[in-house]
Amino acid sequence: MKDVAIVGVGQSVFSRNCGMSIRELCFEPYKEALEGIDLSPKDIDASIICSAPEYDKQRSPAALMSEYLGLTPKPTFYVESICSSSSSGIRVAWSMIKSGLHNVIGVIGFQKMSELASREVAEVMGRGDDTMFGSPLGTSMPAGYAMYAQAHSAKYGTTEEDLARIRVKNSFYGAMNPKATYRKSLSLEEILSSEIICSPLKKFDCCANADGSSCIIVANSDKAKKITDKPIWIMGLGMGTAELNWCVRSSTTSLDSVKEAARQAYEMASLGPEDIDVAEVHDCFTISEILAYEDLGFAKPGEGVKLIKDKETYVGGRIPVNIDGGLLSKGHPIGATGGSQVRTIVKQLRGEAGEAQVEDAKVGLVHNVGGVGTYANVTILGR
């Protein structure tokens, strides 16, 4: 389908402490998204502001961003699905453009996690579980994914080394990304000897909290062709939801939310996993990337590990994944992450990805998950 396009993309440098306010943080990707395209701010009909609440003290940040970016008096509102917020924002933008309500929409995602101490952040994240029956036991995001890792290991023989190989790859590409928090290649030994957070996940199996922002500008077909000569089309969109309580879910080795989102997106795009040239998956933890390989259909259940062992997800392999370093290298400023992933794929499809460019990439996929597999967005983009 070539009726709604992405015409501009931007992201801030992701870092452990950005040293600026959230409004200033949001200006950076907005500026980058407008660079080199024929669009003036007054032609942006609406904005959607995406973040996870409680990481800064600003209540209802949408109006503040609209004011600072000069987008008033046009409509703005807030969209949230934790770590998947900006992909949900793009989903809403697509719908508002497809319906004819608006022509051009800016989707801005942000998170400034350095406002809180790391342990306070862990508390906020713990409350991403059911606060009645989960959080009182001491659950957390790493604990949730660690249980999937342990179960995946028991069922399929996935080892700690297999998990570490994901970080080896992502750190290799992270070293090439000037916007990543961590730009250092890590060895298998360094990863395996890092301290345990939630067994079997170690420090280097986990992404880091970060400050960052992203901006994606979406437009209808007529406008898109006037704004840029390289529009990237939204071919497929899918979203799925899993039960918040982990114990209610059907599986401990795969995520139904992702499988549902992928099914919808492939169907809408009339494409399958074999058609994807390059992908961004939500590697909040190393195990998350292996689960993504399997739930997106890049590998059969239990065979995700083979993809990384055979280096099939490196540039030059069957399906390069997270070749911007992933969340593991970039850092994970929750509300900005989906937009950052989309930016990477758009740059790949435009042929502007530099060192990590996949030759002649035509179709790309973004998998962006909120919570422990709770909200899943899959977005398929094409030239």
Binding site: R119, E120, A122, E123, M125, G126, R127, D130, T131, M132, F133, G134, S135, P136, L137, G138, T139, S140, P142, A143, A146, M147, Y148, A149, Q150, A151, A154, E195, I196, I197, C198, S199, P200, L201, N245, W246, C247, V248, T252
Partner: protein, 136 residues
Amino acid sequence: MDFANFGRVSFTRQGKVAQFADYLSEDKFMTTKCESCGRSFFPPRQDCPYCISSDIEWVKVKGPGKLLAFTTVYYGPSGFENDTPYTLGIAEFENGIKVLGRVSKNIDIKDIKIGMELKLIPVKLDNERVSYEMKP
């Protein structure tokens, strides 16, 4: 009992199924079952989404269950700093009821294995708080 006494740190004061905590204090692990379709739930819930009915009964969860997944937490969220390391697990009991809970600290971490049989045991924490754990 006030539901705020459930667990190490609580975020919810009231609920129609707050009785869950009362039962724990009486040394019973109970959950709810829909009187209309007979489905059992965990976490306990007052309302059945299949029948759109609120007629439920409290039933005992029979053990032992089988451990499906677990992790030992070394870095816990706020309020749990002095509790680490602790092990969280999901075990499956009769009628397909799956329960998330702590695995007892009396078990050596290296002896915790997926597939092992565990029972649900109500426990009393400090300050009259109640919880439960799983042990062989």
